[in-house]
Amino acid sequence: MSAIANAPTFDLPGIDGHSHSLDEYDDAPVLVLVQSCNHCPYVLAWEGRINDLQREYRDRGVRIVAINSNDAVAYPGDSFDAMVEHAREAGYEFDYLHDESQDVARTLGSSRTPEAFVYDADRRLVYHGLVDDNREQESVTRHYLRDAIEAALAGETPNVADTEPVGCSLKWRS
């Protein structure tokens, strides 16, 4: 697995107007970080399924946190204001944070949007990569993220711990 072994510390502004830090999610038995953004068609294709997972696993304490690290100067569609608007329109039920410095993305070693990182109760990485195996929902056969969440909730290691993310390239600042 290429991603770092433990969840990165962060303290980032969220679209709800509050800052959110890693410590804030201490009570969550499973924490999912998703490198994301506003304008990527792959994000748009998968975000509804990510939202469904947050809705489905909320009662079991799972928290999903999307993080947008894209360069909003070169890509204004990824600005904080655009994040607020996009999350409202898409009905996000998970926190959506702005990593303007791109420090979190660098620490995660992210390269794509969307790209998922699943951490167990000790914040050890148990899964990295795809949400599932097809951007067309009706064609999905492997539910990697769901399986990883279930495994982490059970204190187990998922059968698939690493997949190659498919999506837009992360937009680094030049």
Binding site: H39, C40, P41, A45, R135, V166, C168
Partner: protein
């Protein structure tokens, strides 16, 4: 007929789009060489009025005229499938209509 296929390698959708384009051309019995151009820089994107990857033009007309009006950008382009879902590649229907 002239078909231009412009792409930016930072978006992974171009092989799928190219395959779909070739398939539609073959199904329509159109035998031509697609003009392929890779876009490397933002300046090139501006020069080519490239709104995202991939961009496909048939006789100079974008297969998705609405999306063609977006600002030049080195990014993945968002297409809408007939049912409204977003997609990183145009729909077969869009290509068929553009080529007919």
């Amino acid at each position: 007929m002239r078909v231009d296929f412009l792409f930016w390698a930072g978006c992974p959708s171009h092989p799928e789009a190219r395959e779909l384009l070739d398939d539609v051309l073959a199904a329509r019995g159109v035998d031509l060489e697609v003009d392929v151009r890779e876009v490397y820089t933002h300046d090139e994107a501006v020069e080519l009025a490239f709104p995202g990857s991939p961009t496909i033009r048939v006789d100079g007309r974008d297969v998705d005229p609405a999306g063609a009006a977006l600002p030049p950008s080195l990014s993945c382009r968002v297409y809408r499938l007939p049912d409204g879902r977003p997609s990183p590649v145009p729909s077969r229907q869009q290509l068929e209509e553009a080529i007919s």
